[in-house]
């Protein structure tokens, strides 16, 4: 007895996928030996407004990709919120954990700011800084703070959308002014990147912390009754 899905469709799909992967690996190794993108990008790093090659690719040469990544995060959070209200959360932390959290959360916020600033010329950047902010939120949630230190939902929504909003508005404005979508003018690149990264960091941090809650945050006044 042959079940068509398990015996024909899935194996042939897997074989096709494997063939595709092998073919692209073969092309990547033996492909034409002309100018590789990496060399072109490295040569243009001084024009990008930042001196860290990774940031210059993420926020300048391929800024489009990063914008879409932020949109993916936002969509993921919308999906989580559509699952319903957040769970009842953790019980209030005892004094030792509470003291540790009170010490660590400001440190995490400080290192997020450092990570954001240092991303211009050394490893770091918006995603790493946002992850640190998100970690601060997770810590607060684990210590029993309601809503992981996030504001109420009507103020959380603009915060979560801020990154995509600032990124897209900057791109559209630049297109209107004449450079093209997300093509920064020479002198302004550094500041535009910094503005976009700051907005993105705040959004990523808020999104990750909100994702950890696992549902729409409870309204402020319901803090007591549903515990």
């Amino acid at each position: 007895m042959i079940r068509p899905l398990e015996h024909i469709v899935i194996p042939s799909g897997l074989i096709a996928l494997g063939g595709l992967l092998g073919w692209s690996l073969f092309l990547a190794i033996t492909g034409e030996t002309g100018d590789r993108l990496a060399e072109i990008a490295l040569a243009r790093v001084p024009d990008s407004g930042v001196s860290n090659p990774v940031t210059s690719v993420l926020l300048n040469f391929r800024a489009y990709d990063t914008l879409l990544e932020l949109a993916v995060l936002l969509t993921a959070l919308l999906g989580i919120w559509s699952l319903g209200a957040a769970g009842p959360g953790f019980q209030k932390a005892a004094s030792v954990l509470e003291g540790m959290v009170a010490g660590f959360v400001p440190l995490l916020i400080l290192s997020a700011g450092y990570m954001l600033w240092v991303g211009a010329y050394a490893p770091g950047g918006a995603f790493q800084a946002g992850a640190l902010l998100g970690a601060a939120g997770v810590m607060l949630a684990l210590a029993g703070h309601r809503n992981a230190g996030l504001p109420s939902e009507d103020r959380l929504r603009p915060l979560v959308a801020l990154g995509v909003f600032v990124f897209a508005i900057t791109g559209v404005l630049l297109a209107v002014v004449g450079g093209g979508f997300l093509t920064y003018p020479a002198g302004l690149a550094k500041w535009l990147i910094l503005i976009i990264e700051t907005a993105a960091t705040l959004s990523i941090g808020a999104t990750l912390a909100a994702a950890y809650l696992g549902g729409r945050p409870a309204p402020e006044h319901a803090t007591r009754e549903s515990a």
Partner: protein
């Protein structure tokens, strides 16, 4: 020195592959998630050895840390839901 580093790389790679296999084959979600976090931390070391510190930072913070926390929460919820459906109204809220 070079030999030592090569030995370290070999050990790292073997541990990584071993951890991946154990993670994928473990039956209990919670155990799999914890192994996955260990896998992520080792992968961050691999990125650092490949001289990609940006990726190492992102892997340690997002791949191991936050995804791990999210998946632990998901595993807890899944087991809560299972125990609710099998034991009727006996509900566990606090971890």
């Amino acid at each position: 020195m070079n030999l030592l580093l090569a030995l370290f790389d070999l050990l790292l790679t073997l541990t990584l592959v071993g951890l991946a296999v154990v993670t994928l084959t473990s039956r209990e979600p919670r155990r799999a998630v914890i192994l996955f976090i260990a896998f992520g931390l080792l992968l961050a070391l691999v990125w650092a050895r490949l001289r990609a510190p940006d990726l190492a930072l992102a892997e340690a913070a997002i791949g191991a840390g936050l995804s791990g926390a999210l998946m632990l929460a998901a595993a807890r919820r899944a087991s809560d839901r299972n125990s609710v459906s099998t034991e009727g109204s006996n509900r566990e809220d606090a971890p």
